[in-house]
């Protein structure tokens, strides 16, 4: 049940929102961002890319269908705090195992409800993503503003070290529960893929990867060996993979020069696929650069146009940085996809090498599955490579 305990959200510009507390008793600071997805709060909470961020949902009714372990994208929620217009006191869904506030409380994440999230969103749109402080403890407005201002900016920060795995492991080997197939309604067979005759070995850098990326790689015919961000090129070579995968993750892509070097080292040898931060790693590996967007793209309705086919996909997105299109040209990069809302880069490939990446999330979770065929493209690329065609 929602409490009547007060909570406060303060922004670095001095604006303060008073609402009701839920989740854990805590004071946190982070970057305040908004997500426009109408469903999928659990996947958002557990997406490691939100590490260091306090997320507000623009959809006004949150928590309605509760929390289901099978929908987790990480072992625990990864964002710092959660902001909603209205929190559901109950969970109503046949799969639900607990309520949202109970879940956040268990994991020590504070939340604030009953604030005007549209006003907050408009502020972030107009003035850009801001540092903020969320507190469910007694805290004066002034102290909250000060706490927001003193938080170290996301730009220049390496958050990957906080969310990557510690040692390499084979995805699903010790935990079949996490190996589970994507959700499929009983009785519906649409979307079930036939088992592939040949499975490929992929070395996947976990920069804060969402589980569903690995679930989808498995489903599309890959065996996934997961590596920590600091794994060396030699360690990857030792595994002798058929392809290389670069995952999503949090923080400033420019701050990860160790990753840039490893990727630069490996792409001449391995067919490579990158998603989100992985796409930005490829950008840097090609000598390109990334820049911070005013308020980023976070939602499940972003139109992306493929410049080769002219077709538009509706995609799930969650990123605050983007690739500078000119910067990748010298290194052999070609822009393959753009966002139709603001024309920013959404995909690239190498002119000669079998290497490509997308800024958005083809694994969805949450969001549309329109770009699911990209996993198949990666599979085909490896198949062609092995057949000596590329």
């Amino acid at each position: 049940m929602p409490t009547h305990k007060p909570a406060v959200l303060a922004l670095e510009d001095g604006s303060v929102f008073h609402g009701l507390a839920f989740g854990a008793d805590a004071t946190v600071a982070g970057e305040c961002v908004f997500n426009t997805s109408m469903t999928g709060y659990q996947e958002i909470l557990t997406d490691p890319s939100y590490f260091g961020q306090i997320v507000t949902m623009t959809a006004s009714q949150i928590g309605n269908y509760g929390i289901t372990a099978a929908d987790d994208e990480a072992a625990a929620p990864m964002c710092s705090g959660f902001v909603v217009r209205e929190l559901s006191p109950i969970a109503s869904n046949w799969r639900s195992q607990q309520t949202l506030p109970a879940y956040l409380e268990k994991h020590g994440i504070p939340g604030i409800s009953d604030i005007d999230t549209r006003t907050l969103t408009k502020k972030l749109r107009v003035d850009g993503a801001m540092k903020c402080c969320l507190s469910t403890l007694p805290l004066t407005d002034e102290a909250a503003i000060e706490r927001a201002r003193s938080w170290e900016d996301i730009a220049g920060s390496d958050y990957v070290k906080d969310v990557t795995c510690q040692t390499p492991y084979l995805w699903g080997a010790d935990d079949p529960a996490r190996f589970n197939a994507p959700y499929q309604p009983v009785g519906t067979t649409l979307g079930i893929l036939a088992e592939r005759p040949q499975r490929f070995r992929v070395a996947a850098f976990d920069l804060g990867a969402k589980y569903t990326i690995f679930r989808k790689l498995i489903r599309h015919g890959f065996d996934v060996q997961v590596f920590p961000a600091n794994a060396s090129a030699a360690m990857i070579r030792e595994y002798a993979p058929d392809g290389l995968f670069l995952s999503n993750g949090p923080g400033d892509p420019a701050a990860l020069d160790y990753m840039h070097r490893t990727v630069m080292d490996l792409i001449p040898e391995l067919p490579t696929f990158g998603i989100c931060l992985g796409h930005q790693m490829l950008t840097h590996a090609l000598g390109g650069s990334t820049f911070k967007l005013k308020f980023g793209h976070r939602g499940g309705n972003q139109p992306v146009k493929n410049l080769d086919t002219g077709k538009v996909s509706i995609t799930a997105q969650n990123h605050g940085f983007a690739t500078d299109p000119q910067s990748i040209e010298a290194g052999g990069g070609i822009v393959t996809e753009i966002n139709l809302n603001d024309q920013t880069v959404e995909g690239l490939r190498h002119r000669e090498l079998p290497v490509f990446s997308v800024q958005y999330h083809p694994e969805a979770a949450p969001g549309p599955n329109d770009a699911d065929p990209l996993f198949q493209d990666f599979y085909n690329l490896i198949a062609q490579r092995l057949a000596g065609k590329v």
Binding site: F34, N64, G299, G300, N301
Partner: protein
């Protein structure tokens, strides 16, 4: 790729008259389509028989045919116009079915017309139940398990195959699905199957899995030529499976689906639209979800724009019909712009940061004897939609938007009582879906029922129940407080829960004005938010607002003069599209004249709630509080109340008292016309007469008044539209039977008793006045004698039987009334003429239902002129000072929903029951009448058998009727007294047995399709049951039915005109060239 340039002209078929299931949402979609195609430079040819639509205004298409929507007439139009393409998906099921018939009969091929948007094969696959099922199974989607059987043994096998009881049994080819049912046990199963096999003409029944109680969803999907698909909106039904989605409370976006479930449904939706093969445009796909297992079942799809797509457009700001039209001519989604954000493309999916609730509106009270439970057959006549930041706010706003007396969820008013009815009643009302069920949920809470108990009875998702319970809890908390003891936080929270000031006044023991003033004094102010398609991610440029109680107000400032137009709210019988038409015209005219217009309405089906109709759109309830807030915040210069029907008129006095500037005729004049004494004085002064009349405040006085005047009398409540509670009574016994009902319609208001003029000719006159000059807009003579509500009566313009001196007398009387009432704007007068004497029946100084018809007939936009006049222009300045008379005949006919209300009495009376109207145009009156009949359906037969049975008073006229029908080659069948009088007069007629007096009866012949025309005039106020059975059978078997003798004469005249004539088609653009000033 840009648009196609191999096409130059495109035919659009409209949806025809408003009927249940097909209302003004198709005017909204068709108007958008016409505009969208015209702006691309295509020549648009439009056909629609409904004159009350905006789309049939001459400027919306290049060529506009107000002609019957039948294959025969469409072929004539195609032959004449030779369109390159036909867009079949924007005129509802009517247009889709007609397009398929044109295809099947080879007419499209013959004239080389290409069907765009959806091909015939796709439509077939989407509409045919079996083809659709096979298509779904093929692509791996689940459907309700079913099997068709021809014997009891097969049925038992099928039951085994499908699984457990309950099972649904649907006999094949029975009318309205009669003979079917749900079997909960084996015994019931065998009985229903046996009965169904017997009733089915092909001895076949469908045994189907029962999904009652499952959750129901709709997805609004669009697809373009490049196979790009988007979901515009998801809609969740509050009422679980078992209630037609048109009759369900629905909520957008879906509230209880996880992302996993939502994406599975989205993927399935795209698979469906691709497999069915809808190439471009919108489709609506319905799903059902087992709340226990998540099993997802496809119910059906509509391969066209629909009522739900109109709702989705209004709910999200994404104009589905407009985009569908552009996609049909070759554009792709990414080539089109999102009008609201301007900078982003249409190839995205709207995301919303509010909750939308739609509640249907019913009128069971007009169809006495019909079953008022909600089933899989749609019965609602309109709907209200409301937007709030939360479900609670949106639900309460929707409940008060409905205008049925409820103020919201509790808080006094109708259904908002502080004590619950008895438990048995609550349980019964919860267990069987009905129009008031949502209010019985509150009564359940009030009676101490648990949410689990209520869930077991209703199967409404616990999330919704919990939300409503939160409102209920707050209501109970508020009741403990007063305006002095409530703290500002609780006050604000109550407003955020959607409580209106009227509800709060009830709960806090105060009154509306005091609560409102106290609220403002505490700084709790209404804030307006934008419907922007994108949850504030991008800047929005279209001022489409809803109210809420938040931190920020997004109303954009402006300095222009602003005029507010109050719409009509949800459609109901008596107040529908005609009034929306007037509001839209007011907005168009005032924008042209340089004003900024502010539209307020709560009806998602309308053109008035299209975001580009007015400068500012407020999707809000039409209550005093909601309207005042907008007026004050927008700082409007004036308000138009006379265009939206009774809804805004009922607010006029209250608004004026609070300082609102009502422009046009003053509320005092409007009231004077309703006030018996004032009105009698005015008539006396002008030397006009009205039938003897009295007013009564109680039943006793009413009866005394009736005796004083002498029977027959017309008994009616005051301040109502649509003849609610109106009766013609011939005796004291009849009077006593109905007088209570007349008082109940408007409690505390007087009831009016008028002398009823038998066999009088009725005349409707629409007039426009600027305060000095008054000009008649149109005179419409009723086809039926006085006693039939003018909304139901057939009408002819110009008058066809009245003499020139009599019409001059009418004209003079109308002008005098306009002057005396100081009318600024429109006025409607109803006259009766009996034995060449003129009586005044009623004056309404406001827009009437006939305004669009008159405007179409004479080619002058009366409502536009009236809006300008109200804003201060003179008729002289506007160049309209002389009455215009059409050179052709214009016939209005009405369509009735009797087939939806089995058991209801089928008769024309002073109580309006029609849902819509059609127009027949021709140079010949008989042909115009025949066209009106063809448009209203079924059309007049030109031969065959006629069943003739009339009440005693009509018997002398029946002889003439029968003679003329025999002359036309009809065979006459009759019963009892009518047969006798025909025989006595030497008219050859076959006598049939009366019902229950032998076989065959007229009903037997109707069932065998052996009767082509029924003339049956009901005797007495409460018609005999056997007569009604015959009329019901005529309706059920789609046989032309005349229930008045004057209607029958018009039919005969129509048939005479049809025989041996080649009926032509003419666009209205040609007709209006030939009108002349008087």
């Amino acid at each position: 790729m840009p648009k196609r340039d191999d096409l130059s002209s495109i035919l659009i078929i409209g949806a025809g008259p408003i009927v249940i299931g097909q209302a003004c949402e198709f005017d909204y979609s068709g108007t958008q389509a016409c505009k969208a195609l015209k702006e691309e430079g295509y020549r648009v040819i439009l056909v629609n028989s409904n004159p009350a639509t905006i789309m049939t205004d001459p400027e919306f298409a290049d060529v506009t045919y107000i002609e019957p929507l039948t294959v025969e007439f469409l072929e004539k139009i195609i032959a004449r116009e030779r369109p390159d393409a036909l867009l079949p998906t924007l005129g509802g099921q009517t247009a889709l079915n007609l397009s398929m018939e044109l295809h099947q009969q080879g007419i499209l091929e013959k004239y080389q017309v290409e069907m765009i948007g959806a091909k015939p094969e796709a439509i077939d696959k989407g509409e045919d139940r079996e083809l659709f099922k096979q298509a779904m199974l093929k692509i791996g989607l689940d459907v309700a398990r079913s099997r068709t059987v021809k014997s009891l043994a097969e049925a038992r096998e099928a039951a085994e195959f499908i699984g457990s009881l309950p099972l649904i049994i649907r006999p094949s080819f029975t009318l309205g699905g009669s003979g079917g049912g749900i079997a909960y046990n084996q015994e019931e199963f065998e009985a229903i199957v046996a009965n169904g096999l017997d009733l089915s003409p092909v001895h076949e029944v469908l045994i189907e899995e029962c999904l009652l109680g499952w959750k129901e969803y709709e997805m609004e999907v669009m697809r373009d030529r490049k196979d790009q698909c988007v979901v515009i909106c998801s809609i969740e039904n509050f009422d679980p499976m078992g209630v037609h989605t048109g009759d369900s409370i629905t909520v957008a976006p879906a509230m209880t689906l996880s992302d996993k479930e939502f994406q599975a449904m989205r993927d399935a939706s795209f698979a469906v639209i691709r497999e069915i093969g809808v190439e471009t445009g919108g489709s609506n796909i319905q799903f059902s979800l087992d709340p226990q297992t998540g099993r997802q079942v496809v119910i059906e799809m509509n391969p066209r724009v629909s009522r739900s797509s109109a709702l989705a457009s209004k709910a999200t700001g994404f104009p589905i019909a407009k985009i569908a039209a552009k996609l049909a001519v070759g554009y792709t989604l990414d080539e089109l712009r999102n009008d609201i954000t301007r900078l982003t493309p249409a190839s995205f999916e709207p995301t919303i940061d509010y909750v939308v609730t739609k509640i249907p509106r019913f009128t069971f009270e007009k169809f006495e004897g019909s079953d008022d439970s909600l089933t899989s057959a749609m019965k609602s006549v309109g709907e209200a939609m409301a937007i709030g930041r939360t479900f609670k706010e949106s639900m309460q706003k929707a409940l008060r938007s409905l205008e049925v007396g409820a103020r919201g969820f509790g808080g006094g008013g109708k259904w908002g009582a502080d004590t619950p009815p008895d438990r048995a009643e609550i349980v019964a009302k919860l267990a069987t879906p009905n129009a008031a069920r949502v209010h019985y949920l509150r009564y359940g809470f009030l009676a101490g029922m648990t949410l689990d108990e209520i869930f077991e009875l209703t199967k409404i998702d616990p999330w919704f129940l919990h939300q409503l319970h939160e409102i209920f809890t707050m209501e109970q908390d508020l009741k403990q407080l007063s305006l002095d003891t409530i703290d500002t936080g609780a006050f604000r929270r109550a407003k955020r829960f959607g409580f209106s000031d009227v509800q709060l006044a009830h709960l806090l023991g105060s009154d509306f004005d005091t609560v409102r003033a106290a609220r403002k004094a505490r700084g709790i102010l209404t804030t307006y938010r934008l419907v922007d398609t994108c949850a504030a991610e991008f800047e929005a440029f279209t001022p489409y607002y809803y109210s809420s109680y938040g931190d920020e107000n997004e109303v954009m400032p402006s300095t222009k003069q602003k005029i507010m137009i109050l719409g009509g709210g949800p459609n109901r019988i008596g107040q529908g599209i005609e009034f929306d038409y007037c509001c839209v015209h007011a907005s168009f005219a005032l924008r042209e004249a340089g004003y900024e217009t502010v539209m307020v309405n709560s009806n998602p089906e309308t053109v008035s709630t299209d975001y580009d109709t007015s400068d500012r759109l407020y999707f809000e309830p039409l209550t005093l509080e909601d309207v005042l807030e907008i007026y004050e915040q927008e700082k409007c210069d004036g308000v138009i109340v006379q265009f939206g029907g009774q809804t805004p008129l009922n607010l006029a006095t209250d608004l004026k008292q609070r300082g609102v500037n009502i422009i046009g005729t003053s509320p005092e004049s409007i009231d004077a016309a309703e006030d018996r004494k004032l009105f009698a004085a005015i008539l006396h002064k002008l030397g006009l007469q009205q039938p003897a009349n009295r007013t009564a405040m109680n039943e006793h006085d009413a009866l005394a008044a009736a005796h004083e005047i002498g029977f027959p009398v017309l008994l009616r409540p005051s301040f109502v539209l649509g003849g609610r509670g109106m009766f013609i009574v011939y005796s004291e016994a009849e009077f006593k039977g109905v007088v209570r009902q007349a008082f109940d319609v408007m409690p505390d208001k007087p009831v009016l008793i008028d002398k009823f003029l038998e066999d009088a000719i009725e005349l409707d006159v629409d007039c426009i006045s600027d305060g000095t000059t008054a000009v008649i807009g149109g005179m419409l003579e009723h086809i039926e004698f006085a006693g039939v509500h003018s909304g139901d009566a057939g009408m002819v313009m110009p008058p066809h039987t009245l003499s020139a001196p009599m019409l001059q007398q009418v004209r003079d009387a109308t002008h005098a009334l306009a002057r005396e009432l100081n009318v600024i704007g429109l006025m409607n007068v109803q006259f009766a003429i009996k034995e060449n004497e003129l009586f005044l029946i009623e004056v309404n100084p406001r827009a009437s239902r006939t305004i669009p018809f008159v405007a179409k007939a004479m080619g002058t936009p009366l409502a536009k002129l009236a809006a300008r006049v109200m804003a201060g222009a003179t008729l002289e300045e506007l160049g309209f000072t002389r009455e215009i008379v059409p050179n052709h005949w214009c016939v209005k006919e009405s369509v009735f929903p009797f087939v939806r209300f089995p058991g209801a009495t089928i008769t024309l009376s002073p109580e309006m029951r029609s849902t819509g109207e059609v127009m027949g145009l021709d140079q010949d009156l008989g042909v115009a009448f025949a066209k009106a009949q063809a448009a209203a359906k079924p059309g007049l037969p030109t031969g065959g058998n006629v069943f003739l049975s009339v009440k005693d008073e009509d018997k002398p006229r029946a002889v003439d009727l029968a003679r003329r029908l025999v002359r036309l080659g009809f065979k006459v069948f009759s019963t009892g007294g009518t047969a006798k009088i025909l025989a006595e007069n030497g008219v050859q007629a076959t006598r049939l047995a009366k019902i229950n007096e032998g076989r065959p009866t007229a009903v037997d012949m109707l069932k065998n399709n052996d009767i082509q025309l029924v003339i049956n005039t009901p005797g007495g106020m409460i018609p005999r049951k056997d007569e009604n059975t015959i009329r019901a059978a005529a309706y059920a078997h789609n046989v032309c039915l005349m229930t008045t003798v004057m209607g029958a004469f018009a039919a005969v005249k129509g048939i005479e005109a049809l025989v041996g004539t080649e009926v032509g088609v003419t666009p209205i653009q040609d007709y209006v060239k030939n009108v002349r000033p008087l």
